[in-house]
């Protein structure tokens, strides 16, 4: 066997050569002084490199952070993003929408009750599941929206259903 190239010698030191080639190289090394020296130098460099790299090992390993479904959780990073004002509602858009509807409904009822005449006594019609209470004048009234809007124009002739009324 001729003197091996450096990459072959490196592969030999790393145990990456096929058995047959490794055996041939071993036999060659037993005879060739130059290759013995080269191999010794490479081995010492390799040990030094391994030792140097070992020093760079971390002192500890972080614990895996897993989400509830077993997937890696995203680490919160301090990212500065300009948030639009509407983002304040993002945590629960449904809740924000509900609040808006209730507010508008309340406004609508308030206005229609002021007119006074359009409140219907009793439970006729289809009431909304939310009741509103108004304390005004000499009575406390519980009213609800009339949802039975067939053949009826709510904006022009707002209709609420008076569920309960208590006069002082």
């Amino acid at each position: 066997m001729r003197c091996p190239r450096r990459k072959t010698l490196q592969a030999f030191l790393d145990g990456e050569l096929p058995e047959k080639t490794a055996k041939e190289l071993e036999d060659h090394l037993a005879e060739c002084r130059t290759c013995q020296d080269a191999a010794a130098r490479m081995r010492s460099d390799k040990d030094l490199a391994r030792e140097t790299l070992r020093r760079l090992d971390p002192a500890g390993i972080p614990m895996p952070v897993l989400g509830h479904d077993g997937t890696p959780a995203t680490r919160a990073r301090p990212v500065h993003v300009r948030r639009p004002w509407a983002a304040a509602f993002l945590p629960s858009p449904a809740a924000a929408l509900l609040m808006a509807v209730l507010f508008l409904a309340g406004l609508f009822l308030g206005i229609s009750l002021r007119g006074g005449a359009s409140a219907v006594r009793g439970t006729e019609g289809t009431t909304s599941p939310v009741a509103f209470y108004f304390a005004g004048g000499n009575a406390v009234r519980a009213v609800s929206l009339d949802l039975d809007l067939n053949g009826y124009r709510p904006l022009e002739q707002p209709r609420v259903i008076l569920i309960a009324e208590e006069r002082k």
């Binding site: 450096r6 490196q10 030094l48 490199a49 890696p72 680490r75």
Partner: protein, 185 residues
């Protein structure tokens, strides 16, 4: 040195809509490989914060593959390849950023308590860090993979080099590193 590798997970064919059991499989892969990916990143980046970010990003990538139902044949190879690519990108960016700025201005990572032995140890670590940082990026990545005990084939796949050149590249990188260490002493 490392937490045992989950060899049985090295082939992963999981679809996102599959059962929770496979979710747990992903968790096992994550737990099993996290120490390796983290150590690899730490060795190259020299910073626990960045190493943690790297590990997180690498596993997020694997998770996205898994979620989208794309088969990953060789999980270990995938993780190392992703880690090596990210490290290279980050270090390249950092090099550009730090051009002309001395590395020694960067605060030492994980400072130990002030005992004399610790100071010697820190000194050794600093020298090792200086030696490795002086190498070209590709050499650093190759040595990082080499130190993790990957075979030449695996190193070739992860670092994106031909497997026939791994021996030559490694021999050169090792020699350069040894020379740097000798110079630093």
């Amino acid at each position: 040195m490392f937490v045992p590798i989950y060899e049985e997970h090295n082939t992963m064919r999981i679809k996102a809509e599959d059962s929770r059991a496979e979710c747990l499989d992903f968790a096992a892969i994550y737990k099993g490989y996290l120490p390796r990916v983290y150590s690899f990143g730490y060795r190259l980046l020299g910073n626990s914060e960045q190493a943690r970010d790297l590990a997180q990003e690498v596993f997020q990538r694997l998770y996205r593959q898994w979620r989208d139902g794309r088969a990953v044949q060789d999980v270990q190879g995938y993780l190392y390849r992703a880690a090596a690519n990210l490290c290279t990108d980050w270090l390249r960016k950092e090099q550009r950023f730090r051009k002309g700025v001395l590395r020694s201005f960067v605060p030492a990572e994980d400072p130990a308590d002030g005992a004399a032995e610790d100071m010697i140890k820190e000194e050794k670590i600093a020298r090792a860090r200086q030696a490795i940082d002086a190498l070209p990026l590709r050499d650093r990545v190759l040595l990082g993979l080499y130190q993790d005990g990957l075979s030449y084939k695996e190193i070739a796949r992860s670092a994106g080099v031909r497997s026939s050149s791994v021996g030559t590249l490694l021999a050169r990188a090792i020699k350069k590193l040894a020379k740097r260490v000798h110079q630093g002493e």
